[in-house]
């Protein structure tokens, strides 16, 4: 009997997890191994999900895109379906770590590791993604914004695995932006990441979703503030109506941190620029 479990199906994986609560779950392994070196501890039991092929599929359904939790960043950045329907996610995946990290790291790992600077998480929140959490006895669906509860903390129960991420196919009038500020281009941990997703009907803003990473212990979802912009005509929309309150919220959450002096003004200017850019693109499409 070994302590290294390498299931080939979700069913086997969930059964192994049920029998071995607290084992180390490895998808790509890029975060787990980095943490392991830092803690310098021996592994006790490992559940390696790398051979579960059903977790590595991207499927286009009639109204939604289903992404297996084991899909790598490399697959996300190069997949035609993701590029066509979810360019925000493609973009976010393409700026993760390095080519070597993107070859192995997975979208499910990015979510479950719950690092506040995770690149794909703000994109998934802005896309209003739904996560499928499976156990042997049940399957439940939770919105991406409710999954992470703090640094390294999620709502996953001991016997649950994140198995799929579901994103609705967008309408024709969706404009997205993703920006990451890091200390350098490659291999940088985000200092700030902003995901913006705007849906219009041509002249009126139907929905605006904004999520910001790396400015608090979990990614920030600004649904309350962005909700106020819904129904607003694009011509009358003033980006400051969003930029001001969002900056205030981030200011509060970063208060007392050395990084606040840098992050708050950078965030304010970057967000303003992103909003101006999506409005400009929407107006161009309209004319």
């Amino acid at each position: 009997m070994t302590d290294y479990f390498q299931p080939h199906s979700c069913k086997e994986a969930l059964s192994a997890l049920k029998q071995n609560p607290g084992c180390t779950i490895v998808a790509g392994g890029t975060d787990v191994l980095t943490d392991h070196y830092k803690k310098n501890e021996e592994f006790d039991r490992i559940l390696d999900l790398g051979k579960v092929t059903e977790l590595k599929k991207i499927k286009e359904e009639e109204t939604e895109i289903s992404i297996g939790a084991g899909v790598t960043f490399r697959m996300l950045e190069s997949d035609d379906i993701v590029e066509k329907y979810l360019p925000l996610l493609s973009h976010a995946a393409s700026v993760v770590g390095s080519p070597q990290i993107r070859s192995k790291g997975t979208i499910g790992g990015n979510l479950c590791n719950a690092n506040p600077a995770a690149d794909t998480v703000p994109a998934l929140i802005a896309l209003r993604a739904v996560l499928v959490l499976s156990s042997e006895s049940q399957e439940r669906r939770v919105p991406a914004e409710a999954f992470i509860t703090g640094r390294g903390q999620t709502i996953l129960e001991n016997d649950e695995l994140l198995t799929r991420i579901i994103v609705k196919k967008p309408s024709d009038h969706v404009i997205c932006r993703f920006e990451k500020v890091g200390r350098r281009n490659a291999l940088a941990i985000a200092r700030i990441s902003i995901a913006l997703n705007m849906e219009t009907d041509g002249s009126v803003m139907k929905a605006l979703h904004l999520a910001i990473g790396a400015v608090s212990s979990k990614p920030f979802d600004f649904q309350c503030i962005c909700g106020r912009a819904e129904g607003c005509s694009l011509k009358a929309f003033d980006p400051e109506a969003i930029v001001g309150p969002v900056t205030e919220e981030v200011k509060k959450s970063t208060e007392g941190r050395n990084s606040a002096e840098y992050k708050v003004p950078v965030l304010r200017d970057l967000l303003r620029r992103m909003l101006q850019s999506v409005i400009c693109e929407a107006e161009k499409e309209e004319s």
């Binding site: 070994t2 302590d3 392994g29 980095t34 770590g97 390095s98 080519p99 070597q100 990290i101």
Partner: protein, 158 residues
Amino acid sequence: MEEIKITFTLNGRVRSVDADPSMTLLDLLRDKLNMTGTKRSCGIGECGACTVILDGEAVNSCLTLAGQIEGSEVFTIEGLAHDGELDAVQKAFLEEHAVQCGFCTPGMIMSAKALLLKNPHPDREEIRRAMSGNLCRCTGYDAILNAVDHAAHVKNNS
């Protein structure tokens, strides 16, 4: 952790090794199989010195568990030369003087090889991006990028 049998293809040859599945692929290669061409440096996936090709993709062997390579195909720097003749990428690194202290070179070459296997005609930006996970502390980056460019042209003309 207790050893298990791990079967994989290494540089084109099927290998079965008894190993602790929680050890890294880097340790498996260097300490168990005595293949020391793959270099150990940062150990946390930041420098790229330990890059190998796993199922066609460049990966950090320091962030890969030995157990994860079961049934997979691994290529290391030792697998590039054939019948004593260096691979086009290795030759290009020599011709472009893309080696200073040489410690990052095996990782650089494996990243370049992974790129050229997928994309035989990369432009300069694609080369920069593919090599962005490999650090050279001698800072000879221009020569390294020139070497990858050179290898692509040689391959395309041969």
